[in-house]
């Protein structure tokens, strides 16, 4: 029997038994729907991380020098203990790195933590307090909506000034010009000199709750009571220079810390590509867990289809007998039931894919999670649908094909 005939026959059977067919394909539909939704969310996150997140968190063409790697995807207890034993970073380390790198590298000491901030008459609120060098604004490409950033001279003199994020400005100085006003962070007053333009959010975390002060102010001690540095962010002039900069930094710090040739580094160098590979690890886990559940749905869907097809075979025993009497070969009967099962599940997969895209968009709309529908996932859904149908149809179809036409014709 030609393939087209089999599909036509399958569609006819489905049309006649609409409700039953709907329930048959429900399992596949739900499975594919969640599969598409999960894959779209993960893809969306991945797009976001690649295009936005890495630049926002780390900066472009930059690497971080820190005691413990900035992104840890999997580390055991022993690894953590080893990291904890490493010496902290202090100003002499910074000076060493600065001396080692040519002038076209920008660098900044960066400390950050959430600290309470307040103005008289307002409830204290937690802000992302950052103490750093003046170059930080260039590295981060922060634009200012009002006022100015602090200068390296102000860093040198330890001026008690602060540049704030847009959310901080709107919370504390609603309807006012924040420049020149006072903001108390961790109990000490700072003068607001500028407001950074809106940065948006990363995975629902606002990037606009910033309060950035010179690294020489008491804010550093409020963040790190020992007075050490969380990280030195280094920006290379271009991508190719990153590796060279990292090598120079490593050599200089190893020399400064008097490490022997067989000693491990006592610091970590993290690039934005490390952040990306961290996310890749996270992504593969998300995909694994995110698809395990829909996969169960698909298995259930396959079992339902198999069951319905078995019922269909026994209901249509006589039809099979007639078809065999009229010249249908085994493979014609097998094709008929396989095509019917896969048509059912492909329709289920198509509806499921549509609902999945809708679900992904809905999640993206009501939660901070981004969504991006990958075309390959739609193709995959259809292949999965066909696969489920064929797998589920094999047993019922071969049962049908093996029926003895005489017995089948005799059946009432």
């Amino acid at each position: 029997m030609p393939f087209f005939e089999a599909v036509r026959l399958a569609l006819q059977t489905i049309r006649v038994q609409k409700l039953k067919s709907f329930f048959t394909l429900l399992g596949v539909m739900i499975g594919v729907m969640f599969l598409i939704a999960v894959v779209s969310i993960v893809e969306g996150m991945s797009d976001y991380v690649e295009n936005d997140f890495a630049a926002k968190i780390i900066g472009t063409n930059t690497f971080d020098v820190s005691r413990i790697p900035s992104f840890v995807s999997n580390a055991d207890e022993a690894q953590w203990r080893a990291w904890q034993r490493r010496p902290r970073l202090f100003d002499p380390d910074y000076e060493t790195v600065r001396a080692a790198l040519p002038g076209d590298f920008r660098m900044a000491r960066v400390n950050q933590n959430f600290l309470p901030a307040t103005v008289p008459g307002l409830r204290p609120r937690s802000v992302q307090a950052v103490s750093t060098d003046a170059t930080y604004f260039d590295i981060k490409k922060f634009g200012l909506t009002t006022g100015r950033a602090f200068t390296q001279q102000e860093v040198a003199t330890g001026a008690r000034v602060v540049v704030i994020g847009s959310e901080v400005a709107s919370y504390y100085y609603e309807g006012l010009d924040p420049v020149g006003r006072e903001l108390r962070i961790a109990g000490l007053p700072y003068t607001v000199i500028g407001v950074i333009e809106e940065q948006g959010s990363v995975f629902g975390f606002s990037m606009d709750r910033l309060a950035i002060a010179p690294v020489t102010t008491p804010l550093t001690r409020a963040i790190n009571p020992r007075g050490d540095i969380d990280a030195i962010t280094v920006q290379a002039g271009n991508r190719e220079l990153i590796t060279e900069g990292m090598e120079l930094t490593r050599e200089a710090l190893r020399g400064f810390r008097r490490l022997g040739p067989s000693d491990d580094d006592t610091f970590s160098l993290t690039t934005s590509s490390a952040a990306l590979s961290f996310f890749d690890g996270l992504k593969s886990k998300l995909v694994l867990f995110g698809t395990a559940l829909p996969a169960i749905g698909l298995v259930v869907g396959a079992l339902v289809i198999m069951n319905i097809m078995l019922v269909a075979v026994s209901e249509r025993t006589r039809e099979i007998g007639v078809r065999k009497a009229l010249g249908a070969r085994r493979r014609d009967i097998i094709a008929q039931f396989l095509v019917e099962a896969s048509t059912l599940s492909i329709i289920g997969a198509m509806i499921g894919a549509g609902c999945g895209v809708g679900l992904a968009k809905l999640i993206a709309a009501v939660t901070p999670l981004p969504a991006s529908v990958a075309p390959w996932s739609l193709v995959a859904a259809l292949i999965v649908g066909a696969g489920v149908g064929i797998t589920a149809g094999i047993y019922p179809a071969s049962r049908a094909a093996r029926l003895d036409p005489i017995a089948a014709l005799r059946q009432e």
Partner: protein, 269 residues
């Protein structure tokens, strides 16, 4: 293969006897069906049922044969083997020059498709398909393109005077009309034999007569017809009557001989 032609059934012509005795030889082309020493046994839960115990049958092209016999005589088994739905345990079956008894599944399916047109007691139309789609079905399995399929199915339906009802489903047709759809379906592939199993078993006597007239017309126009029935009335519409008893052919007579033997009184026109 043994030759069990112990006694020649009453009415057997010398010509037929000669064909049936030529074991292992392909019969001349005018013989559309030749069986020699056909045996079929079933294992019914340990008990062996010998449904056919050596059947020799020879049917020429254009014959109209009724196969009769009480239930248990083996006529259904014979009809299944002749219809290529079943294969014998022993003996030969030649259909249109092909040794069907040695064929495997797919080859048998092809023979059923090309050589045999079935008409069943219960019509066996696909309930969800229109008359036209039902008649097209054998052509689908023969691989005929859609347009030609439709044309040939329409032709076959017109032959049985159902040209006006081609888009009706079986449940919208009367019993006689359904059986005529089934006849159109049986004829659409231009088979060597039309094989009817109790074709009037589910019809009232008026409709039965109507269907018998269709068969007679087909026989008149050269179609080989084999009809299995247990009703002498219906059997006597055929031109030759074969009676089975206990898995063997008991008699093989012309219609006139048969009617004369069972008594004209039983046969009412």
């Amino acid at each position: 293969m043994s030759q069990d032609l112990l006694e020649v059934p009453a009415g057997t012509t010398p010509e037929r006897e000669a064909v049936m005795r030529a074991v292992g030889q392909a019969p001349a082309p005018e013989w559309v069906i030749v069986t020699r020493g056909l045996k079929r046994e079933y294992d019914m839960g340990g008990e062996i049922v010998r449904a056919l115990r050596g059947v020799d049958l020879a049917v020429k092209r254009n014959e109209y044969v009724a196969i009769m016999g009480p239930s248990g005589s083996g006529k259904s088994t014979l009809m299944n083997i002749v219809g290529c739905l079943d294969t014998p345990n022993d003996g030969e079956y030649w259909l249109n020059g092909q040794l069907v008894s040695e064929m495997k599944d797919d080859a048998l399916a092809r023979v059923r498709n090309k050589e045999i047109g079935f008409v069943f007691q219960t019509f066996n139309l696909l309930p969800r398909a229109t008359a036209l789609a039902n008649v097209e079905l054998p052509l689908v399995y023969a691989g005929v393109p859609a347009a030609e399929r439709k044309r040939r199915a329409m032709e076959a339906l017109e032959k049985v005077q159902l040209g006006q009802r081609v888009h009706h489903r079986p449940n919208e047709l009367s019993g006689g009309q359904r059986q005529r759809v089934a006849i159109a379906r049986a004829l659409v592939n231009d088979p060597s034999i039309l094989l009817a199993d109790e074709p009037t078993g589910n019809l009232d006597s008026n409709t039965s007569e109507e269907i018998m007239r269709v068969f007679e017309h087909l026989a008149d126009t050269g179609q080989t017809v084999i009809m299995v029935t247990h009703e002498p009335d219906i059997a006597s519409h055929a031109r030759r009557v074969v009676v089975l008893r206990d898995g063997r052919i008991a008699s093989d007579e012309t219609k006139a001989q048969f009617v004369a033997r069972i008594g004209a009184g039983q046969h009412a026109h």
